[in-house]
Amino acid sequence: MAATQPLLALRGVSKSFGGLTVISDLDLHVDEGEIVSVIGPNGAGKTTLFNIITGVYRPDEGEILLEEQSIVGLDPHQVTNRGVARTFQTLRLFLNMSVRENVMAVQYGRTKSSPFEAMLRLPRARREEREIRQRAEEKLSFFGQRLVGYRWDQPAYSLSYANRRRLEIARAMATEPRILLLDEPAAGMNPAETQEITELIGKLREEGRYTILVIEHDMHVVEGISDRVVALDHGVKIAEGSFDAVATDPRVIEAYLGLRKAETK
């Protein structure tokens, strides 16, 4: 392979809370245009991985490189401005703001005009406001029939659960990231909606040209979208490769089955 550098690379990243090691010595890379899935049983450290990448937690050890540049120690908003956006497993929308406002608010980092420019309605503030609005509508339109225009002025709390997941994705897209981190985008959805999400993630890459790192439990989704799958257990990478290779890896089966056994005891 020629020297195409990965878009995102983690080298020897570790993180522990108190005595509990949640991520240990993890190497991971995501190339431009790739869709990589992270799987692993509950508590494997997948969400913590996202929190470390986005700067919510600082890794105890290791390097995180975005296009060769370290992003360790940056504040989360700075990481986002460098081109990393995420959704939340637990859904953290701005519930009492309208759907449109949710997608407009997150463009803060992409715009510059000060409150004083807004007060005086100076040209830059007006132009940015127009662009913010346009981009918001463009991102929402990506979801077609599901998030149609009349919903845009309703408060986010009035959306159905599946639509809230969609809005989370639209919101992440509006920061214009290079790489999208999706934390269980299909959680809590019914089979039809899950199918739709699978198609959507494909469309995000084809039309939106995003590189995607996704955490997912639903193996149908993982199978449907992944170029590469990474399996985590207790913060350690136990397998990596194509879906078929990882899904049949004895250590992966062990990790899931071991958990099943522990749960049924």
Partner: protein, 488 residues
């Protein structure tokens, strides 16, 4: 293989957010019908300029139809409170920061203006630079207080700012004998006596002197600030403030520098308070330590919360109620109107369905007339008292027992009212409706025979408190606030 790895979603998960649930929420939003609903929808869909006119037109007519004293008490003071409310609304309403030292910034504004424009120091700056300096000083101090506290969340920020507010009062009380470099024996604040003889505002040759002139000036200042704030609230900064109030972590992860935005909101609030302070200093022609105490802080918070935190229109209505009602209550005749209007509104809005409403209204009226008739025939002492002055009091005297030596009995009635209200909270259904009748009557009895004469004192604040409790029960989100929904 793949199937086996797929964890099953429990089928009985809470289905908040499914479409039936969404439909029910929509239903609630559409519930307002009749004239109230019509007004609400009209208000919600009106453009911002039209809403502002709904306030400006009455505010501009008011000085033409009222007396100097009323213009001061109802007009000017309400405007000053509303201006203060606008600033607090930025910190508390937009950004969600609990700032308990807010009044100190108001004080810094007043003292700064007083320092550069009064007999006290011999400086006599014209209004524009003096006001700009007052704003700058308040903003700078907001920055100094806010900078280290910007990481503080919730309760800690409240404690730090409360301490700051109290420190300000101590400072101005002792600021007359500061004696260290570079202030060698300077008198900054006039100490416990405050700064007196502060200049009126001098604007390009126009000296703002009369109450009317101050009213116009303050109205202009208020409109300027509310328009600017509206523009900011509809900008990227305003949206970021709202986002950070909703969920600071998500805001931070979604490209908003939360600490800087908090600091900005804090400084904005402080600057507006400083502006209001400078105007207040010139209106009062003085700045005194006692003016910047916790009492005023509570009043301004009441205004913002009552109006609906985050709502600009709410600040106006909040200021009208919180300042206007106690002022109205000063005069027994007006107090009479306030009391019965509130009573009727309360019954009309709270008693449903109409059968119960008719029972309560009819029962209360019948009870009163019957008692008066009985007393007239057999116990004349019970109607021998003098009715209060005013038309309404005169009508009421046909329905209400007015004993000749009422105070003792009315005290008992007062206690009995409280007891009856407590009983009411325990009852349900028709029992509640029936007990409501004597409760209203005994309450009105205590009012007529005791409270109405004391409204100048503590009673009016008791009543204001009761009114606020009732309003907050009816609309917990504030009069103009939108109901906030939390889903976990």
């Amino acid at each position: 293989m793949a199937d086996e790895l797929t964890p099953q979603v429990p089928p009985d998960q809470p289905r908040i957010g499914v479409d039936e649930w969404v439909a029910s929420v929509e239903g609630k939003r559409e519930r307002y019908r009749g004239p109230v609903g019509w007004l609400r929808r009209g208000w919600d869909t009106a453009p911002a300029g039209a809403r502002l006119l709904a306030f400006v037109i009455p505010a501009a007519i008011f000085p033409l139809v009222t007396t100097e004293g009323n213009l001061f008490r109802y007009g000017l003071i309400t405007l000053l409170y509303a201006l203060l409310g606008l600033g607090l609304n930025v910190t508390v309403g937009f950004a969600g920061l609990l700032d308990l030292g807010y009044i100190a910034f108001f004080g810094f504004g007043a003292y700064t203006y007083g320092y550069v424009a009064s007999v006290h120091t011999g400086h006599h700056w014209p209004a524009v630079p003096a006001i700009l300096l007052a704003i700058a000083v308040a903003a700078l101090i907001g920055f100094i207080v806010g900078f280290p506290s910007r990481r503080l969340v919730g309760d800690y920020l409240a404690i730090v700012t409360l301490f700051f507010g109290q420190a300000f009062v101590v400072f101005v009380n002792n600021g007359d004998r500061i004696n260290f470099w570079p202030f060698n024996r300077t008198d900054l604040t006039g100490g416990a006596n405050g700064l007196d003889n502060i200049d009126p505002l001098k604007l390009f040759g126009w000296t703002v002197n009369t109450t009317k002139e101050y009213y116009w000036f303050t109205l202009g200042a208020f409109l300027l600030v509310i328009i600017l704030l509206y523009l900011v609230s509809e900008s990227r900064t305003g949206r970021a403030w709202k986002a950070l109030r909703e969920d600071p972590l998500a805001a931070e992860v979604m490209s908003m520098p939360v600490n800087r935005l908090k600091l900005m909101a804090f400084v904005f609030g402080a600057a507006i308070a400083g502006f209001a302070g400078a105007i207040y200093g010139s209106v009062q022609t003085g700045a005194f330590p006692g003016d910047f105490d916790v009492g005023l802080l509570i009043t301004i918070y009441a205004i913002v919360i009552l109006g609906g935190a985050g709502s600009l229109a709410g600040v106006i209505v909040g200021a009208l109620v919180v300042n206007g009602v106690p002022e109205l209550l000063r005069d027994p005749n007006q107090a009479e109107w306030v009391f019965y209007t509130a009573l009727v509104l309360l019954v009309l809005t709270k008693v449903r369905p109409w059968q119960k409403l008719v029972t309560v209204v009819g029962g209360t009226l019948a009870l009163g007339f019957a008692l008066v008739a009985i007393a007239d025939a057999w116990f004349p002492r019970w109607t021998a008292g003098e009715p209060n002055t005013g038309k309404l009091a005169h009508w009421v005297s046909h329905w209400m027992l007015l004993p000749s030596h009422a105070t003792q009995i009315a005290n008992w009635a007062y206690a009995l009212t409280i007891a009856l209200i407590l009983v009411l909270t325990l009852l349900r259904g028709w029992w509640r409706t029936i007990v409501m009748i004597p409760t209203i009557y005994v309450g009105a009895f205590a009012w007529e025979n005791l409270l109405v004469e004391q409204t100048v004192g503590a009673t009016r604040f008791l009543l204001l408190g009761a009114l606020l409790v009732v309003l907050m029960n009816a609309r917990p989100q504030g009069l103009f606030g939108t109901a906030r929904v939390e889903i976990v």
